[in-house]
């Protein structure tokens, strides 16, 4: 039998988000003069810098934040952008990887928990589209849930992409024999990923086992006001 590993080795690609649009997730958590500003959104790293400044200005104006927030916001976004850009030129190794993405969010009154598989090789994938469809299908009325879901997906994909870059870097350093290195990435990096070859072999079937069904079902909860307050208080305490 030919070794299955060599069949799935792919040439390393340049680092990018494995989605159709190369957008990155940005998280902000700034505290100035007792005012706390927490936010998270998706950003297009190819927008010019003027866009960034303007966005910060409008946010400060719209939310009536203290003017001291402005430079902090700009700086925070810029540093996250810089991190992204530092990874940009490097090689990323992507094999046949299907990774599970988990959602566990609370947005205002809605709690959503879900798990699904995502194909990293599909560079046409669109977390925004997925989030929109998910909200529509589940009938979520709160419009803020959608962006939060898209953001969570993006963050996880970003993490995985970064891991790929570092693993590719390590492999290049460790490369002793040319052939041997090819096998390593498959076994090491696919800890969380599924091995497609095993799945599609004749011994198992593609249909998910019944006991795993519950894991992959979205769970949606609507909380009452008291629950929300309680949870928020708990988060604050754990955060501090």
């Amino acid at each position: 039998m030919k070794s299955p590993a060599s069949a799935s080795w792919k040439a390393p690609l340049k680092f990018r988000m494995p989605t159709a649009e190369n957008l990155i997730p940005i998280r902000l958590d700034i505290e100035v003069d007792g005012q706390r500003y927490k936010d998270a959104f998706t950003w297009n790293p190819y927008d010019p810098d003027s866009e960034l400044v303007m966005f910060a200005k409008r946010t400060v104006k719209d939310l009536k934040l203290a003017p001291g927030f402005l430079p902090q916001i700009v700086q925070s976004i810029q540093s996250q952008l810089a991190t992204f850009q530092s990874y940009e030129g490097q090689d990323m190794y992507v094999g046949d990887k299907i990774v599970p993405i988990k959602l566990d969010l609370r947005v205002n009154h809605t709690v959503i928990r879900d798990q699904f598989l995502w194909d990293l090789n599909n560079f046409d994938s669109d977390p925004e589209e997925f989030a929109r469809t998910l909200c529509k299908d589940l009938g979520i009325e709160d419009p803020e849930v959608g962006p939060a879901i898209a953001l969570a997906i993006r963050e996880q994909l970003y993490e995985i992409a970064i891991q790929n870059v570092t693993s590719a870097r390590e492999n290049r350093i460790n490369k002793k024999g040319r052939r041997a290195a090819e096998h390593f990435p498959i076994s090491k990096a696919s800890g969380a990923a599924l091995d497609l070859m095993k799945l599609f072999s004749f011994r198992s079937s593609v249909v998910r086992k019944r006991k795993e069904w519950d894991n992959y079902k979205p769970i949606l909860d609507l909380l009452s006001n008291e629950d929300v307050d309680a949870l928020e208080a708990k988060e604050e305490r754990s955060g501090r």
Partner: protein, 463 residues
């Protein structure tokens, strides 16, 4: 998302929005009533404001220049202002995404039309990257599809001037205002920057793709919209243009002064007032004295243009790499549109006869915005030439056809004549034959009579 109380407004006039003089808003000054498809909003603002009494709670006012809006369609101006969704660069950013953003933002606003929605509200509720959402939001805001109630119309100018004063680089209104429905901007020589709305003085940068103009500061700062890069802009010198606007009074003063003072340009400049010596000389030289129109009639415009240019190269020229082209550009700007067009046409004629590249360059290859019209007129002359050739061919074809037709008719006439002659001959023969037959008949009769006589005689003989 804290609920804000509806803004109280002072002017109780009927729902005619104040003409927003800050931006280059188009002339229609009245608003159109636009009934929303959403169910009526039951929360009429509780505070008694001086706003005109809302007859229906579900009537939303939309300025008439935004009449094109409809929920299911995308208008051409939308695709012009927000090209990122329509140029197919990224597969997921398409018109359907744009419609999702636009419709959600507008729906969000119309849920509570008395309250202005902020960009942060909008982007919190939409799935997508905030840059694109912001652009859609700004577009809708500028076109009055959101945040356009009688109260906001008043506060708008103040908001914009305030933001303009606060920061010179607020390109939030850059994209729509530059190509707003008034095309005045392009034709006047006074250029306003699309981003900071300041008068362009020394040089400005023009982007042809999206028809926007930026002053040097905004260009350097990168205050253009996302789809553009530095390379898309070309530099346009203003200083000579602005100064070239000599009013009639000034020209008159200039002429008087030159009559009095002759060559003493210092005194002339003093007399004219407000113009430097160089400008006076330059303008004086450019005044039409008739000598410019002598010489070769066809090459006249181009040549005279070059000559005067040599004399008038006192004013600073644009920094185009090719000095000849720069001069031509300068000239065409000064000479005006029609003259430049005529020059270009003349040059094209010459080009078709003689392969003179400098003449063609002078006529065709200018860089100014006027040259675009030249080029289009060149295209027209070319087109005319080919049309004329086509017409010539057609007329020749027609002539041939006529000749052929004539020849055919002649042939048929001749043949008909032949036939007629034949018929005549046959008739004559017929007559002759008829005559012979009659003769024969008469002979037959005679013979019969003879026979009878003979038989009578025989009978009588025997009897």
């Amino acid at each position: 998302m804290a609920e804000k109380s509806p803004v109280k407004e002072a002017a109780p006039s009927e729902s005619v929005p104040v003409s927003n003089s800050v931006q280059l808003k188009p002339s229609p000054q009245f608003s159109a009533k636009f009934t929303t498809p959403t169910p009526p909003n039951s929360d009429i603002p509780s505070t008694p404001t001086n706003r005109p009494p809302p007859v229906d709670a579900d009537v939303i006012h939309v300025p008439s220049y935004s009449r094109w809006f409809s929920w299911d369609k995308i208008d051409s101006c939308e695709s012009r202002f927000l090209p990122e969704f329509f140029d197919g660069r990224s597969p997921s950013k398409g018109p359907s995404l744009y419609m999702y953003y636009r419709n959600s933002i507008i729906k969000l606003f119309r849920e509570n039309p008395s309250r202005k929605i902020t960009f942060t509200d909008a982007r919190r509720n939409l799935v997508g990257d905030v840059g694109s959402i912001r652009r859609v939001f700004d577009f809708l805001d500028h076109w009055g599809l959101i945040n356009y109630s009688a109260s906001s119309a008043l506060s708008k100018p103040s908001k914009d001037t305030a933001s303009n004063n606060k920061s010179s680089d607020s390109p939030s209104l850059e994209s729509p205002s530059t190509a707003a429905p008034t095309p005045k901007q392009s034709s006047t020589s006074r250029r306003f920057c699309g981003a900071c709305k300041s008068l362009c003085t020394i040089a400005c940068f023009v982007c042809d793709k999206y028809d926007s103009t930026l002053c040097a500061r905004c260009y350097v700062r990168g205050n253009f919209r996302v789809g553009l890069s530095n390379a898309d802009f070309r530099r346009v010198e203003i200083s000579d243009e602005a100064n070239a606007e000599w009013s009639e009074k000034e020209t008159l003063l200039l002429l008087e002064a030159t009559m009095h003072y002759g060559d003493d340009w210092k005194k002339v400049a003093q007399h004219v007032g407000g113009r430097t010596e160089k400008d006076c000389v330059a303008h004086f030289v450019k005044l039409p004295f008739g000598e410019e129109y002598l010489g070769h009639p066809l090459l006249d415009d181009a040549e005279s243009g070059f000559e005067t240019n040599k004399r008038a190269c006192l004013t600073p020229l644009s920094d185009a790499s090719n000095p000849i082209m720069a001069q031509a550009a300068f000239l065409s700007a000064l000479a005006g549109v029609e003259i430049a067009e005529a020059a270009a046409q003349a040059a094209v004629n010459i080009l078709s006869k003689v392969d003179d590249t400098t003449a063609s360059r002078g006529g065709n290859g200018s860089l100014e915005r006027n040259s675009r019209q030249e080029i289009s007129s060149n295209g027209d002359t070319n087109q005319n030439a080919s049309e004329r050739a086509y017409e010539d061919a057609n007329s020749q074809l027609n002539k041939e056809e006529e000749d052929i037709g004539r020849a055919i008719t002649e042939i048929t006439e001749v043949q008909m004549k032949e036939i007629q002659d034949k018929i005549l001959r046959f008739e004559e023969m017929d007559l002759l034959v008829e005559k012979e037959r009659q003769q024969l008949e008469s002979m037959k009769n005679l013979l019969f009579i003879d026979q009878l006589n003979l038989s009578f005689r025989r009978n009588s003989n025997y009897a």
